[in-house]
Amino acid sequence: MDITLAVTVLLAGIVVVFIILLLLVFIVKGYGSIVYSIQNKPKKQKNDEVPAEQPTQTALSKTKEPEAFAAGVPGEVIAAISAAVYTVYDKETVKIKSIKPSRQDRPVWGTAGVMDNTRPFI
């Protein structure tokens, strides 16, 4: 293979891939900031409005340090559940207190199947 062509493809390839993805970085960052700031604009409260109720505490504790997780739950499962929780809830406001298997009358896949089959046909 011609050395000129080889070097051309090598350089052109790296440069083009970086340029296009760099452009995507700026564009995604740009529209992401705009949309995020619009959608998360703090709403002004009127004096006579009643403040919204605080969300009820479930298994998530606001202030306590996480306790030891239940024995027998694999580390990967804990990692996946923790990642999912922190993705949905802001880490600043919640901390996972414990993770333990729940009692299931029906297997999860069975439940998913029932929900899928009983959902109204669109």
Partner: protein, 410 residues
């Protein structure tokens, strides 16, 4: 006695037309290789969804080569013709003898293979991939795009090396795309640039994708320090539905405008994602990621495997392809990790370099490997969602790289 003679001649005729008389030693070796691939796919679960159909296609074509035969015209002398009404056939004179030009159909895989040859199946697989992919982590941290770009370094350096090993430019391009760690992309590029190498490239690509948990960790540990691997990254911000809906449209417009050759792959990937994220086409998204993808996977796999005949596969160049594929994977991982280290330095230690290895677009295996290595260094570190950003960026990056190769070499 005549009946016995007729029976004997029939049996002799059947035996002479059987594969036992028409196959050569290369076919039998390929049958053995197909069985090994069955073992890898079924017992060791190496990318079974594609490797098993590929292996079966390989088995079938080496047992019955005509399964991939293209349609042809058979010239039968008029005096020897014993079929139906010959009036529908053209008459051709060859060496003074009149012949009927009788068209024969191709093998079943020949027709199914048109989906690969015409570049239809890989974009359809990407449609399903897009419908299964969540680009949220990437949108939340767009810098991950750069890690996805850096991991494509393996493709272009391998292209350079392949040229010096005696491959043509088109063959080098098709082989180097293995480094993108993306099966449909590898098949798409190989079909466009070097269709005669499709069999070994596809087998190499899917085998290495399954070996990501073995290939990547030593490279990741070798290129990073313990302190770097322990970095805990900042929680990703939540991503709204509007952002997720805008993303596929913007990516399609930008990539297709700048690199039209990447439009089939990137466009279908983003269409699938938009079907999922819009929320108003749930049935289409479900079909794309389930029934459609499964049907296309079967047809793609079995016909790609059917290109792996003995003449193509049992050649010295196959060993080179396997070696170059491994090099492409390794260099891609190195590129991603090294760029991750650069980002670690540039951000004052906020980016864990391990997530750079996930820029190799074997989704979600590479992200999982990065997460596991992070856990080894720091048992409380959850890198999975951070690694998913570069992982899905790598899918876009490898499609863009494919577009570049096709644009320059096609």
């Amino acid at each position: 006695m005549e009946i016995l003679m007729g029976l004997w001649e029939s049996l002799i005729g059947l035996f002479k037309s059987s594969g036992l008389m028409s196959l050569d030693w290369r076919n039998y070796i390929m049958i053995g290789i197909a069985i090994v691939l069955f073992y890898l796919a079924i017992k060791r679960e190496f990318e079974p969804l594609l490797l098993l159909p590929i292996a079966f296609g390989m088995l079938l074509v080496n047992l019955y080569p005509d399964i991939m035969a293209s349609p042809m015209t058979e010239y039968i002398p008029v005096t020897e013709y014993s079929g139906g009404d010959p009036s529908k056939y053209a008459t051709v004179v060859i060496n003074g003898i009149s012949n009927y030009a009788v068209p024969t159909n191709g093998g079943v895989f020949y027709y199914l293979y048109q989906g690969v040859k015409l570049g239809i199946f890989p974009p359809l697989i990407f449609l399903g991939v897009g419908a299964m992919t969540d680009f949220g982590p990437l949108i939340a941290n767009p810098k991950s795009f750069l890690l996805g770009a850096a991991a494509q370094l393996g493709i272009f350096l391998t292209f350079f090396a392949a040229g010096f090993m005696g491959f043509t430019a088109e063959e080098s391009g098709a082989i180097s795309i293995i480094g993108g760690a993306d099966g449909p992309t590898a098949i798409y590029v190989a079909t466009k640039l070097a269709p005669h190498l499709l069999g070994p490239i596809a087998v190499a690509a899917y085998s290495y994708m399954a070996l990501v948990p073995i290939i990547q960790p030593p490279i990741m540990r070798g290129l990073t320090t313990k302190k770097e691997r322990e970095v805990v990254m900042e929680q990703l911000r939540p991503v709204s539905k509007l952002e997720k809906v805008m993303f596929p449209v913007i990516v399609t417009i930008l990539v297709s405008l700048f690199l039209p050759d990447a439009a089939p792959l990137v466009g279908m990937l983003m269409l699938g994602n938009l079907l999922k994220e819009s929320g108003v086409t749930e049935r289409l998204a479900k079909t794309a990621q389930n029934e459609l993808m499964n049907i296309v996977t079967i047809m793609l796999g079995v016909t790609v495997g059917a290109t792996a005949t003995g003449e193509v596969f049992l050649a010295p160049q196959t060993l080179f392809i396997i070696a170059l594929g491994l090099a492409a994977f390794a260099v891609g991982t190195m590129g991603g990790v090294l760029f991750g280290k650069l980002m670690y330095k540039a951000t004052g230690g906020k980016v864990n370099p391990l997530i750079g290895a996930a820029g190799v677009s074997a989704v979600p295996m590479a992200a999982r490997v990065a997460h596991k290595e992070g856990l080894r260094a720091n048992p409380t570190n959850f890198l999975l969602m951070h690694a998913m950003g570069p992982n899905v960026a790598g899918v876009i990056g490898s499609a863009v790289a494919a577009g570049v190769l096709i644009s320059i070499l096609g």
